[in-house]
Symmetry: C3
Subunit: 419 residues, 3 copies
């Protein structure tokens, strides 16, 4: 942890200037971290896992959010359940492992035993007076959306998530993510505040720093034609040509592609759009050809570009014809964030035959690592007392929207908490 130089209690007086990056105290220091865990991660719907990670009854994963740990487990009826990973007896963590499979959930300390629906089944020497019904595991709100699992730690989750789910499901459904399998999952720790990780993903004006990615991804994301510099002109023209052909294909196949962007106008801020890829147009590879021979579904073509979705506060996704890749960001300290990247392929795809892990993950492993460097440098800079928020340029309008959304969440939290 970076030692903070900000005095405690200083945060409430900090005001953001629209169109500019956030004030430094909102990025650095214990108080901002604590506030974000409550105001944002304690209230928003969070993407934390994919359904294929817990495919069978009894399969579980545990997810840490600040000092919280949440169990996601598939119950015997194939529903996804979520519980706080805390025994109702004396508070011991129940499950240590990041993932596994279990029958009942048995506390390793005094063997209190819960079923997969959270009911307390057994507590030795407890006597008849113990109110077992009052000692079920504390549930966490959980919602799978087209194979993506979201949780919400709030007592009363935002109702706008229903509308979000209804909006994005038809885009995602063709990729059949709930039926996919995990090819691999990689966690990296970024030395920067979670907001800087998210901001970094909201613009492509830094994409010159991603030489592998921009072979297949057009580096004009977020640009309007009038903002295209001479350097980007050739890419933009290729993009425009590809886009015309691509959207015609999508329309023909009945696949939704139009951008739906609601980043700063709602609690579950999001953006979804299907866009063409460069080169062969199939996947995130050096030549744009598929990285997995077996496609995710019975698609008539692999040239389906990327269905890209952002969901605030903490996730982004790319669903392609041959694979999907999901990204979740979780704060672990004021200046540390966990980035979890998960690659999904068709459940019958066979490693070594249909795909090689190395080539499937090559582009995003390198891109994540490049972004890690950008984020760490940005964190050090915005933690500097000499930092003054600077202006977002036009192709960074989504970063600005993210910051607006974030400032709204803080205001909402303070209004609710009366602070």
């Amino acid at each position: 942890m970076t030692t903070t130089e900000t005095a405690p209690g200083a945060l409430a007086a900090v005001v953001r200037t629209p169109g500019h990056s956030l004030p430094g105290p909102l990025y650095a220091g214990e108080e901002a971290y604590r506030t974000d865990l409550e105001a944002v991660f304690g209230r928003s719907w969070l993407f934390v896992a994919t359904e294929p990670e817990i495919a069978e009854p009894g399969d579980f994963i545990t997810v840490d959010i600040g000092r919280r740990s949440v169990i996601l487990i598939r119950d015997d009826d194939m529903s996804v359940r979520a519980f706080h990973n805390v025994c109702r007896h004396r508070g011991s963590r129940l499950l240590d492992a990041c993932s596994g499979s279990t029958g009942n959930i048995v506390c390793p300390y005094h063997q209190w035993t819960y079923d997969t629906e959270g009911h307390l089944l057994h507590a030795e020497s407890s006597g008849p007076d113990l109110d077992r019904a009052a000692l079920s595991l504390r549930p966490v709100h959980v919602r799978p959306v087209a194979g993506l699992i979201f949780i919400c730690l709030a007592a009363e989750p935002s109702a706008d998530f229903d509308d979000y789910a209804a909006t994005v499901s038809p885009y995602l459904a063709p990729h059949r993510l709930a039926q996919a399998k995990v090819a691999t999952q990689i966690d990296i720790i970024e030395d920067g505040n979670w907001k800087l990780v998210m901001e970094n993903n909201r613009e492509c004006t830094h994409c010159g720093g991603h030489p592998e990615l921009i072979k297949s991804l057009f580096p004009v994301y977020g640009y309007q034609p009038e903002d295209i510099s001479p350097r980007l002109r050739p890419a933009f023209e290729r993009y425009s040509a590809a886009h015309r052909e691509f959207t015609a294909t999508c329309d023909e196949l009945g696949m939704l592609w139009r951008a739906n962007e609601q980043l700063d106008t709602r609690q579950t801020g999001f953006r979804i759009e299907r866009e063409p890829l460069d080169m062969a147009g199939e996947s995130f590879t050096a030549d744009g050809r598929r990285a997995c021979r077996k496609l995710l579904a019975d698609f008539p073509t692999a040239r389906l570009g990327r269905l890209s979705m952002h969901v605030q506060p903490n996730a982004w996704f790319h669903a392609l014809a041959d694979h999907a890749v999901t990204f979740s960001v979780l704060p672990i300290a004021p200046d540390k964030s966990l980035l979890r990247t998960t690659w999904l392929v068709h459940k019958d795809a066979v490693e070594g035959r249909d795909y090689e892990l190395d080539s499937l993950t090559h582009v995003w492993r390198l891109t994540n690592d490049q972004d890690r460097t950008f984020v760490a440098r940005a964190h050090r800079g915005v933690s500097d007392p000499a930092y003054v928020p600077g202006p977002y340029l036009a192709p960074e309008y989504q970063v600005d929207a993210f910051c607006t959304w974030y400032a709204d969440r803080l205001a909402e939290y303070r209004a609710a908490a009366g602070v």
Copy 2:
């Protein structure tokens, strides 16, 4: 250090529900740690060492309590002295080593020199105006009790310690701990708050997790007959039979055995009792036979079970016929505690002939390590904002008493400090 999510100043409003584990903010976070160092470790008598650790004049050890360091030294009259390990000149630590032997205490910075009674003997270039008498080492209250050394950091230590010492000395005296020698001492760091380490030792409902220990220790400690589950029935019956024979032996030998339990009714909360061991009944070994051939004293039998004592806030002890083992717990961070375990044998016992270190320490090395895992998991759980204090069951009544005692100490401290 775990990053805390608790806002500063939140602790005073936290209230404990009797019969339940402590509220989370009392276990985790900087404020609880700071408060405990003042309210508990700054005011209570603390067990910190055994007399055999400083057997000869000039022998010393240093003990850290939070940011404090205390020197325990045997002076030329064979008394045990305790001083703050801080030079009266410019504050340098005087003694770096954990243990050693010295004539005078000489500050390594500017050579200010103190005798073993703390008097300033020499300060170069100090001139006649220096008030040497006012610059003695600052003493710490110290009391040996039957070979166990207690200190108190308060200006005015609790007077109830006299009564405690008078009560327990006759139980301990036959084991002649002051005349023993240290076979070995092992420090481990537990990743949990000190209170969780103490609570863990106040009950045996988790003893299923100690397969080595429960070969000789009956896992029914703290149970009333009506709380014995079918699983524990055989052990309880063996215990009851052993107990009848054992207490008759003790009475015959004039060794005190009856429980004296004053855990939550006084400042120096304690419990002492002599109980039988399982199997051969002599020691903490796989077959219950002695681990040291030479007994601690001229006992007519080695089947003296365990004289077990708890002293709050920070220690427990087992004195057997063949050896004794002492445990002290000292907080080193909100989520880190030092557990120091010391094995004592007769001073003439010879390693390799009378005992092997490996087998002497086997059971408690493994048991401590198992407890370390329980405590770490408990700490993570009670630090989770989703943790809600749960009910103590009947065989955990001593844990409840510890928590009651602790809450009383906080109340007492706040009353005294006017906070």
Copy 3:
């Protein structure tokens, strides 16, 4: 970082007793650290580098002060410039390296490009509305003094620096440090508060702990004749004899030598004096002979002793005939300080022919390491709640002056900040 036991906000009530070491809370804990960064390092002129470190246009170094990073760069007109190392766009650190050479300063995130005078030259996709003139790099006040580079982070630096520079320049000028070259630079981290590092250097009553140094440096620094103990008598007599001859030589050569001591009477507290060395009297070596055959300037003799300067808050210097050595102290945590030591020799001196790095640096490498031990032990002691400030003795009067100066800076800061 040591966990603090001091409650936040406790610092303002802390009062220093003149003639005594500082109260513990001023040495330890987050609040003191934060305050010092603002009150002292945010307002004073700081020595941070020597001119030879950035000899050519485009040469730069970066210096960290708390969470700040400052770029020192030589511009095309050979002036030394200083800028905050923060991009005016979204705050990224601009230069990662500790030192290097560059044409323009290009942000690695989005390629915003600044010239060596800090002007924003280029920002892709920025459009005509961007007020480039308002987005220059933020300058930091910078002043080279006879080859030594000082910066000031305050908006309005203290004007007394002009007088300081005018006073010391004639002492330093003959050594031609601006034209020297860096033989080597060594950073070490001391486990103690920066003030303890500075205090340690203000007295020689601990010089018995520096066996290598006191071969050439008379260990009577800071002593008046009446404070010389029998142990120091021989050294003092050698010193007195050497001093008479030495000052005559200096006078003859027109080299200033008289002490000018203004440690606690001004914002830029300093002391400068030229004094003889022991043995051959030329350099910090075992026999007092030069460590570099080629002298720093065209001196008629190498027996020029040491021109020693202290500048508060953070530096000291020794300029000799054959080399100079500079020391800067920068806080990096409440209990961690960076000590940077730089050895300068004539720019045409050739390693292996004119000097060996090992012997040139031998004495101060060992002395620094010995001081590191003293400082770490002092920090642990003054962090102990049992520490009580003790009396400074006569030969420690400069330490006392440093503490007086420091207390004045705190008072001045609080008056200015209204806290």
